[in-house]
Symmetry: C2
Subunit: 300 residues, 2 copies
């Protein structure tokens, strides 16, 4: 198992990168020699103090030069630049994966910098919290969560990556980049966009009412503020890089919202009732699918 992988590098030590370090340490003990790097010296310091990497490098080149597997857990907006920076130092045959929330853009930005000797396997863990930074990472972040790989199931390198991700608790799923970006546009990017918007709308209210919005937020609004407090850099990059799929889903959403707005204005009680009954069913399907709680128990 993982016969060729001895050295692992994790580049980018935010919530995801530091959680990968925690998870590797917990599940593999000392099986790998693990280096870590972040452009931000504060993040390097935190990871050094957490003792979750064998070596925290001051230079990205040092971190990747002996690595058989490299995780690029950096914002999708800079992953191309990071790929460019590391490419001269990569070992022949090295596997590079990323953890970005958009996949078409990452492939577009990363591929040009890697020679044929480098195996780039884009991936995306469907896991996260509203917290960011290396101090927010934890070993079970990927446990029972999907980790999507853009690759072929018979590819030996995909299998190696799959075994490592499965061992840290993730459910590995293979799909193509275009499909990934559409699914994520509706399940993640649009919900976050909407959440950012509504929280923005509330914060523009006059001061008096705004304070009461905060006090009485438990009635629905609070769920949105959790989504809307996620890392701004990450989300800016997502919307800039999955623009087409997000705008397509947003257009569908806008049409539906306009329709619902009309029904409210007309006080069309029977059509409103039908609409609100229909959405209840999707919730039931999600509960049946075992996705209702973060630590769902669904077997692959």
């Amino acid at each position: 198992m993982n016969e060729n992988i001895k050295n692992i590098a994790v580049i980018g030590l935010g919530l995801i990168g530091s959680s990968i370090l925690h998870a590797l340490k917990l599940n593999f003990k000392n099986k790998f020699y693990i280096t870590a790097y972040d452009i931000n010296s504060k993040n390097r310091k935190v990871v050094r103090e957490l003792k979750i990497a064998d070596k925290v490098c001051e230079k990205i080149a040092v971190s990747v030069q002996n690595a058989d597997l490299i995780f690029l857990s950096v914002p999708v907006g800079v992953v191309g630049e990071v790929a460019k920076n590391i490419s001269p130092f990569l070992k022949k045959g090295a596997i590079v994966t990323d953890t970005g929330s958009t996949k078409l853009s990452v492939i577009r930005d990363v591929r040009p910098f890697f020679s044929k000797n480098i195996c780039f396997i884009p991936s995306h863990p469907l896991a996260g919290t509203e917290h960011s930074g290396p101090e927010s990472g934890f070993a079970s972040l990927f446990k029972n969560r999907y980790w999507i790989i853009i690759g072929e199931k018979n590819d030996q390198n995909v299998k190696k990556l799959d075994r490592i991700l499965s061992k840290i608790g993730a459910y590995v799923e293979l799909m193509d980049a275009d499909y990934h970006d559409r699914i994520l546009a509706i399940t993640s990017h649009l919900p976050h966009l909407i959440a950012f918007t509504i929280v923005g709308t509330a914060s523009d209210l006059e001061m008096d009412i705004k304070n009461d919005v905060i006090r009485f937020s438990a009635t629905g609004f609070r769920d949105f503020t959790r989504l809307a407090s996620s890392d701004p850099t990450m989300w800016r990059d997502v919307f800039i890089n999955n623009t087409d799929s997000v705008l397509e889903m947003l257009q569908r959403f806008n049409e539906d919202l306009t329709e619902l707005q009309k029904l409210i204005r007309k006080k069309d009680s029977s059509k409103l009732y039908d609409f609100f009954s229909r959405t209840k069913r999707i919730r039931s399907q999600i509960i049946e699918a075992g996705q209702h709680e973060p630590e769902y128990k669904k077997k692959k």
Copy 2:
């Protein structure tokens, strides 16, 4: 304390009504004689089996005729009709409250049916779950949650109601009906409307992608499905009865969403970053205000 209140009637035995019964029983033991009524015989049967009322009445008139305090926990769309039905049977001096999510419409619909001898105090517990029906009720639903009363703090009847609600764990807040409806429009009604819309948008997707939306819903979408699975009757009535405030907030939301859509289309990374940073602050304020967890510990 509650010197004049001996008999209580709870009309409407859904999630809220049955939770009131549970909470009264738990916190007051046998202090009150409590009757219950629901137009639906199935709900009456469940409450009878739960043994949370002293008497479950077959007729609404019997339920209210001796009551000193009456809770109308029925959908806001029928509360006027219920008020009309009970008014001939009410005791002189009886206090009637309701639990509806809109207050201007309830006052408009209810007041005409009550003589000067009846004290109507509109109220609204900011508590609920995505489940409905008497079997979903529980005694701590109102614990550490706000319960808004539309009334004056020196009114003796308001004080009586306050004491009972405080005893079952609620934080009583007084405000006027118009302000209530505006606050709820942004903290509860608009978030639910948005959630219903986005879940509706997803359920219109082609079957393949829809199944994967359900599988991968943990990434943001799931939070919306919880809101969108709330009781359709209740929500239809809310939107028909708080139309002005909801449409006003919806218009502000639409303007903000259009603005954000433009920034995405133009890939304006610096303005997107600013927007996403700003909304993070509201979350921090909510956490400071102690509203981040359902069972928050905030002292009045």
